[in-house]
């Protein structure tokens, strides 16, 4: 009979760190499977093969590095790996990169994350920075936009909106913009390309809830982080007069949800007290939004996590003490931090400027004008055909079909007529504006006439005026002149 001595308590919960890590792995693999399905359906099998190659490379590099490390430390390799969980970092890192990433940057990123950020800091439980975050940062700095030549990725939602300066006010523009990703609901379901794992916010949210219920992660971190992003972007939306889409976009697009569930919650790099974790999450939310809006840098999530990791020990020191006594201080500091964040975001929000790229001003190609053409010289030539004519206030709008090249030479049998719309002041019988609706003449030559430099000359002319032809496109210029003449004739005659 042996009565075992053991310090009390002798009873322990069944949950172990190993189980926590297995559940986390399971959660990550669900995202991998979702992404595989997405790339298979939308892009084909070779994308899926590449995804799994990335995964295989990253996991092998991570496991091999730790195995070698354990060997040199003369530790039982299998036991060491079982309590060190290198694969978790590898999977997260793969999920953070775009599908077009070649294999060697992911190998180097993983190696750096595992060896430098983890093992050199003392192994599992001792690293200061989120490991995958470090790996991603290394890859961003050293390889930038290294991409696989035969794989394409479109712009991620966050970089696209960054290109627009974040403030999209025009309703039509907004709609076209959001439509790229299937609207807000499209972002939620995640059927669009981005970084491999940053797609379906809904899936990640569901996994996050599952992991929180299973005590794998602290619900406070994703809730306060996403809450901060939502509130701050809602504030910016209010200042800029943007709709509810803006905060939703900030939450559902890009890596915020992924970072919130899988990276920010990494307990090793978190403060250990509940209130500390709340401060940590709010801080990360503020920094993410600042980097996104002020820095106009799409990778706000990764860097906000790394910055907050650095502050973790300080937050821990700040919350040290008797929780019951300090709870007032916690509430005040959390409130203060929120207010500071809101103020910062307010300033940033006021200064945001829309960058109009979506519908660029049609570029005005340089044209030169040459010899003048008098309008009335058209009187003797071919007449334009009046397609339609309508009254719009003071003006009459006449659509004229006019032969271009076709009129001039038999060589151009298949030349089609051009269409010109002429707006004429009904009482003064002078031209208000001329719009070229369709030019069927040779592209890049005939089309030169569709240029304000040429067309603006018609303003205020009547049948006695003259305009200078576009050099190199005299025939088409002439056809426009004839159309205008015909329109003037039509309006005059109609009186």
């Amino acid at each position: 009979m042996k009565l075992q001595f053991k310090v009390s308590p002798t009873m322990k919960t069944r949950q172990s760190t190993q189980q926590i890590m297995m559940l986390l792995t399971l959660g990550l693999m669900s995202v991998v499977l979702f992404s595989s399905a997405f790339y298979f359906v939308e892009y084909g099998m070779n994308y899926v093969v590449h995804l799994w190659s990335l995964l295989a490379v990253a996991v092998s590099v991570a496991v091999a590095s730790e195995a070698v490390w354990a060997y040199f430390l003369k530790k039982d390799i299998v036991k060491y790996l079982k309590t060190s969980f290198p694969w978790v970092t590898a999977i997260i890192l793969v999920l953070m990169v775009p599908i077009s990433t070649p294999l060697y940057p992911i190998a180097i990123g993983t190696f750096f994350a595992i060896v430098v950020a983890k093992l050199m800091f003392g192994g599992f439980g001792h690293n200061v920075f989120n490991l995958a975050g470090v790996g991603r940062a290394v890859m961003l700095f050293s390889f930038g936009a290294a991409i696989m030549p035969d794989l394409v990725t479109s712009a991620t939602p966050i970089s696209s909106i960054a290109n627009l300066g974040w403030v999209v006010k025009d309703a039509v523009q907004l709609e076209t913009f959001l439509a790229q990703f299937g609207g807000i609901s499209g972002l939620l379901f995640g059927w669009y390309p981005g970084a491999i794992g940053e797609t379906s916010a809904l899936l990640i949210m569901v996994i996050g809830i599952f992991l929180a219920v299973k005590n794998v992660l602290d619900w406070r971190i994703p809730v306060f982080y996403m809450g901060t992003i939502f509130v701050l972007s809602a504030l910016v939306a209010a200042i800029q007069g943007l709709g509810i889409w803006f905060p939703l976009y900030n939450i559902f697009a890009g890596g915020a949800m992924f970072g919130a569930v899988f990276m920010l919650t990494d307990p090793v790099t978190n403060p250990t007290s509940a209130s500390g974790r709340i401060l940590f999450a709010i801080g990360a939310g503020i920094i993410t939004m600042l980097i996104r809006l002020q820095g106009n840098y799409p990778e706000g999530v990764v860097f906000s996590i790394l910055i907050m990791n650095m502050l973790s020990p300080m937050i821990d020191r700040f919350t040290d003490g008797w929780q019951l006594e300090l709870s007032k201080k916690y509430v005040t500091s959390i409130a203060t931090l929120s207010v500071v964040g809101a103020l910062l975001m307010g300033v940033v929000g006021f200064n945001l400027q829309a960058v109009a790229i979506e519908e660029p001003e049609p570029e005005v190609p340089d044209i030169t004008l040459s010899s003048p053409i008098a309008l009335d010289q058209s009187a003797s030539a071919t007449q334009g055909v009046i397609l339609s004519s309508s009254v719009d206030g003071d003006a009459t709008v006449v659509l004229v079909e006019i032969n271009g090249y076709k009129v001039l030479s038999g060589e151009y049998d298949d030349a089609l007529p051009n269409k010109v719309e002429v707006r004429i002041n009904t009482s003064t019988l002078k031209v208000v504006s001329v719009t070229v609706v369709e030019v069927k003449d040779t592209n890049n030559i005939g089309t030169k006439v569709d240029n304000p430099i040429f067309l603006d000359q018609f303003k205020d002319l009547d049948q006695t005026g003259s305009v200078d032809a576009v050099s190199g496109a005299t025939v088409t210029s002439l056809s426009v002149v004839r159309a205008v003449y015909a329109a003037l004739e039509h309006v005059k005659g109609g009186e």
């Binding site: 075992q4 310090v7 322990k12 599992f124 602290d218 406070r220 403060p271």
Partner: protein, 431 residues
């Protein structure tokens, strides 16, 4: 509160079904009884008998004689064989009065009669003192002393929560001695000058709640407060906060509440009606390490080994034996220690080997500490030998509830680290 601090409590598996419904086993006193001369941490006792004296059931054999007065009574009749130092359930060697049991059970009366109807507050308090009533929930603190407070008390809170896993002795006492419970709490109301009695029972104990509800119907001032099945709900602070949403600095009297264990109330009730001190004890013997888990009714001073033998012995070669529940009890390396008036359980489990690993800084221990401490921070400070930080972290407020070790997924002995920190702090204060 819980958003900023954490839940400060946790539901833990109770294994209470092992001993809630089966028969209570009456264990006859063995040939020799050992009355431990200890109360709480104090071993200052005046022994009132000497070797060769004949004693009866209820003979007062010793009395604590420092700040508190706590008499001890013999549970058997027989002859005093002397005093022997043996291991006590507090893991310390302590003097015990050895009485040879003559198995005649001749009894005497050492407690005065109390007419509860007519008695004054002071008379009841005095009675509780001479009857040797102490906190039966495991602490053994003299009950009379709590009522000497000058504070205004409105409510007597009877603690029938029994939050430690495995233990069902309070449950079985409340179920079997309901009338004594009622007499006990009426006496306590008198001692406190209170207007109300609240009986706290876990929501999950539906049957008991129904039963007690029926029994207290004639007493409109008494009511049941149902509380969640979480640990450590039985701790005064957690319990008072759960029911009244109030926190206090030192003792519950600050919020006009006085808390007593249900078995303590029953002991007081029995002292009044039967004029006997706490010489018999209901003890839960449970766990997968004992053949026949059961509640036993045993004389105080019976060695644990005697009880274990009567319940069929151990189930395994390698077992862990705890005096008390698995959370707050102490692991014993012998089964020769004896039952005190405030022993409520013996937990016996098969020894399980668990491998610990590095702290993953998950903060789970911090979230659950019922005292509002940060156990992992205290552990880190202790490892770094940073005494100032240990002090700032208020390690001395730890009640050693064990929850931090229980919840730790890395299987670290977090509570033990906090204990070490407490000792460091105590040393520093002493120096």
């Amino acid at each position: 509160m819980s958003v900023w601090i954490g839940s400060m409590q946790k539901h833990i598996e109770g294994f209470k079904e092992l001993t809630t419904y089966n028969d209570i086993v009456n264990i006859a006193a063995p040939k020799e009884i050992y009355i431990p001369l200890i109360n709480g941490v104090s071993t200052a006792f005046e022994v009132l008998v000497k070797e060769g004296d004949r004693v009866f059931v209820n003979t007062k054999v010793a009395v604590r004689n420092d700040r508190f007065e706590v008499p001890l009574f013999s549970p058997v009749s027989g002859v005093v064989k002397g005093i022997k130092k043996i291991m006590h359930a507090s893991l310390k060697p302590v003097d015990h009065i050895v009485i040879e049991n003559d198995e005649l059970y001749e009894s005497t009366i050492s407690i005065p009669h109390l007419d509860l109807e007519k008695a004054t507050k002071d008379e009841v308090i005095e009675f509780a003192k001479v009857a040797g009533i102490v906190g039966m929930g495991g602490a053994g603190f003299p009950t009379y002393f709590k009522y000497l407070t000058p504070a205004t008390l409105k409510v007597v809170l009877i603690n029938g929560v029994e939050c430690e896993p495995y233990i069902t002795s309070d449950y079985r006492m409340m179920e079997n001695y309901t009338q004594d419970l009622i007499t006990g709490f009426i006496a306590m109301m008198k001692m406190a000058n209170a207007q109300e009695v609240h009986i706290a029972i876990k929501k999950s104990k539906k049957k008991l709640i129904k039963y007690i509800q029926e029994a207290i119907k004639p007493y409109p001032f008494a009511s049941i407060k149902e509380v969640d099945d979480v640990y450590p709900m039985g701790w005064e602070r957690t319990l008072v906060y759960a029911i009244y949403k109030k926190r206090y600095v030192k003792i519950p009297c600050e919020v006009n509440v006085i808390v007593n264990n249900a078995t303590t109330a029953i002991a007081l009730g029995q002292a009044i009606t039967k004029q006997m001190g706490p010489t018999m004890k209901m003890v839960t013997v449970s766990g997968n390490g004992i053949k026949n888990p059961a509640n036993v009714f045993v004389p105080v001073g019976t060695p644990a080994s005697h009880i274990i033998a009567q319940l069929g012995g151990y189930t395994d070669e390698n077992i862990t034996l705890v005096a008390g529940g698995p959370m707050m009890g102490k692991t014993m390396t012998t089964d020769a220690w004896v039952i005190t008036p405030y022993t409520n359980a013996i937990t016996i489990t098969k020894t399980e080997q668990v491998d610990s690993m590095t702290c993953l800084r998950c903060g789970t221990c911090n979230d659950h500490c019922p005292a509002g401490l940060l156990p992992v921070r205290i552990n880190n400070a202790e490892q770094a030998k940073n005494v100032d930080l240990i002090a700032q972290l208020n390690a001395d407020l730890c009640i050693e509830c064990g929850l931090c070790t229980y919840v730790c997924p890395s299987k670290l002995e977090v509570t033990e680290g906090v204990r070490r920190a407490k000792r460091v702090l105590a040393l520093k204060k002493g120096a």
